[in-house]
Symmetry: C2
């Protein structure tokens, strides 16, 4: 079976996010001062070939831990759906 | 009212994604050959002060178009929820 995973990798709350801070500042210049607290991370989409939903989730977990996220500075969350 | 927006900005399907291609290759080396077709974009989370859900969505739309996404190469999608 084929599964589609959508993964968000974000800087942890305790970690400064200079890119997000810069974008928050730019919002004001664009007349969007109502927008606050911008944080910027990565979004990863991928396909997995697996027998079960659980197996697919395990693979994604493994990929996040070993490659996609730096667990010292980033946290991740994902959804896996059959396609 | 305060709203939380979660925005995904991804390279369009027609556009080559060299970072995603590199990660797809690395998956094989990590013993995760079942993972294919990795694409990497940005995930942005932000807070908006607005009167209604619709007003908040309009602000996010405006932010995406004017700053967060390059519409020539990227497409975006978002969800807005009251907090």
């Amino acid at each position: 079976m084929k599964f589609q995973a959508e993964i968000d990798v974000m800087p942890k709350k305790e970690i400064l996010d200079p890119q997000g801070k810069a974008v928050t500042g730019s919002m004001k210049n664009l007349g969007l001062a109502e927008i606050q607290n911008v944080r910027i991370g990565k979004h990863v989409s991928l396909e997995i070939e697996a027998d079960t939903q659980e197996a697919a989730e395990n693979k994604v977990e493994q990929a996040c831990k070993s490659l996609l996220a730096n667990l010292i500075m980033e946290s991740y969350s994902f959804t896996v759906t059959a396609v």
